[in-house]
């Protein structure tokens, strides 16, 4: 049975106020379209978990969707500070829970593999452990030094963007694969957005490329260019200019609000958002193809 529905339907059906959301994608395949749709639908009191909040969570915090942030690095990647999240943390307007990258990603690994926690070796940098009581010590039953444990993260919803998927949610992705697979398996519900919807036979030509199987996916949405200003390897480039621009916009509450009005609330959906970016931006982000060498699976 096809799980293909519109993104607005997927967000309406699968994201509830108060949910813990994981919008996956470490610097790549960041699902901005879904983030914007969550803003459009005025979801509230979300706990936003992500190793790097990136602009997607800056925008969602600005729009008032979030109660809490779970993260390991808050910055505007390659640019500097993530102003809105940072100021919300400094002013006590946002709760937070903090880990290292490895801690955050280990939490997802535990959640995805059905374990209550993941062990990590000690780092001797104990201040975060003191600040976050959910980080614990773990005795090594083999007599070695204590380890660190971080608790499983099992988000209510993960949003994962991929390059291609079939209508059941079996998905190929490549380039930086960050924590997409882990987020999909860890979450209770998975909304998959995809650059292309392909036939199942196309997925089956390269099963080793299928990192996310349809059996964990709740909804599949066909959203080309869903990642702007982030990118999809092979499909379009990262819009670094927008990352720089956001550094300016987000300095003022008023400009941020106008940006949200103009680009999110006043656009009907992501197709309209992309169209509104205009031909110049489209051209700037276009990439020339560079194909992988195929592999031979053999006819058995």
């Amino acid at each position: 049975m096809s799980k293909l529905i519109s993104l607005s339907e997927a967000i309406a059906s699968f994201v509830q106020d108060g949910d813990t959301l994981y919008a996956a994608g470490f610097t790549h395949l960041i699902p901005f379209a879904a983030g914007h749709e969550i803003i459009r639908q005025g979801k509230k009191n979300l706990t936003l978990a992500r190793a790097t909040p990136d602009l997607i969570y800056d925008q969602m915090v600005a729009a008032g969707c979030a109660r809490k942030m779970v993260f390991s690095y808050i910055g505007n990647p390659g640019v500097g500070s993530l102003r809105i999240v940072r100021s919300a943390l400094e002013n006590g307007r946002l709760e937070w829970e903090e880990y290292s990258h490895f801690g955050m990603i280990s939490r997802l690994q535990a959640g995805a593999t059905g374990l209550p926690f993941m062990p990590m070796k000690q780092t001797a940098a104990t201040d975060l452990e003191k600040a976050n009581p959910r980080i614990k010590r773990l005795t090594d039953p083999y007599g070695g030094p204590d380890l660190i444990a971080v608790p499983a993260l099992n988000p209510d919803v993960a949003v994962v963007h991929v390059q291609r998927a079939d209508q059941n949610g079996n998905a190929h992705l490549w380039g930086i694969i960050g924590e997409q697979k882990e987020a999909a398996f860890a979450a209770k519900k998975v909304i998959l957005t995809a650059e292309e919807i392909v036939d199942e036979t196309s997925i089956r030509t390269d099963p080793n490329r299928t990192l996310i199987p349809g059996l964990v996916v709740s909804a599949v949405c066909h959203i080309p260019k869903a990642c702007h200003p982030s990118y999809a390897q092979g499909y379009y480039d990262r819009d670094n200019q927008f990352y720089l621009q956001w550094d300016q916009i987000s300095q003022s509450l008023e400009n941020t609000q106008s940006w949200l009005d103009e680009w999110v609330f006043d656009t009907k959906d992501h197709a309209e958002y992309w169209h509104k970016l205009g031909r110049q931006v489209h051209n700037r982000l276009r990439v020339k193809p560079r194909q992988s060498t195929p592999v031979n699976y053999g006819e058995y």
Binding site: E98, A125, R238, N240
Partner: protein, 256 residues
């Protein structure tokens, strides 16, 4: 021949690149550390392998990467893996020779703060980005290097928050913690180079040409010790500067 003119950034990048050895596996971010690695690779360390926390191994970027997730790091790389894999199979397993670290504060014993300024974590005066990958890199890479401008506020006696371990209260404490990595080996600044002494305290071991001990002392937040064997660094060569300016960062984004 009169010495070549260069910026503080160029000076730091050139000196950091010389600390890298051929065959090193380096866990690296974008910006200056990326330039230092690429410079080493094009000069004395052709077999250097660069890995990035985004899960990229052996990148050969065709343009200057502008973020840790720049797609140019992927196309043509040797390998790409998940984030869990890069931190566990590579870093925690012990496959990483060198880590580059940064932070708002680096203290007398090479400890790093990238989390909060102020005494109260829960009410931060300034909220910094946080650890990212640095907590584990500082613990598990064989050698760590830091590049940072030499300013008093960056070099306090003690960090406000211990994001990443240097030598803690001294080398003995780090040794007791039984971390696999050797800790900070050198801090390259625009004045010179600090290295840990027998106790793990950062002492000035080299000055760049025309820089003085006084400048270094004035810009350090603890009573800076000077090595008995204080050296002067070799000026950046024409070749090094040419590679940086013409090949690696032609727009000068990170060279100012």
């Amino acid at each position: 021949m009169s010495p070549l003119a260069y910026s503080s950034s160029e000076l730091m990048i050139v000196n950091a690149s010389r600390l890298l050895r051929d065959g090193d596996v380096v866990f690296v971010g974008v910006g200056q550390p990326n330039l230092a690695c690429n410079l080493a690779k094009r000069t004395h360390a052709p077999n250097l392998v660069m890995i990035y926390e985004a899960g990229v191994i052996g990148a050969e970027p065709a343009r200057l990467p502008l973020s840790i997730g720049d797609p140019t790091l992927i196309s043509g790389a040797l390998a790409v893996c998940s984030m869990y894999d890069i931190f566990s199979f590579y870093l925690q397993r012990g496959c990483v020779d060198v880590g580059f670290m940064g932070g708002a504060q680096i203290d007398r014993f090479g400890n790093i703060n990238a989390t909060v300024i102020g005494a109260d974590y829960s009410k931060p005066k300034v909220r910094l980005p946080g650890s990212g990958g640095s907590q584990e890199i500082a613990a598990w890479a064989n050698r760590c290097y830091i590049m940072t401008p030499h300013q008093k506020r960056r070099f306090p006696e003690k960090v406000d928050f211990l994001t990443s371990a240097g030598y803690l209260s001294g080398r003995a404490e780090r040794e007791a913690a039984a971390l696999r990595g050797g800790g900070v080996q050198a801090v390259v600044t625009d004045l010179g180079i600090m290295e840990p002494d027998h106790s793990g305290e950062l002492v000035l071991t080299a000055l760049h040409p025309q820089k003085t001990v006084e400048e270094a002392r004035e810009n350090t937040g603890w009573p800076l010790k000077i090595s008995d064997d204080l050296k002067e660094t070799t000026p950046a060569s024409e070749q090094e500067l040419a590679i940086l300016r013409l090949e690696l960062d032609p727009d000068g984004l990170y060279l100012k």
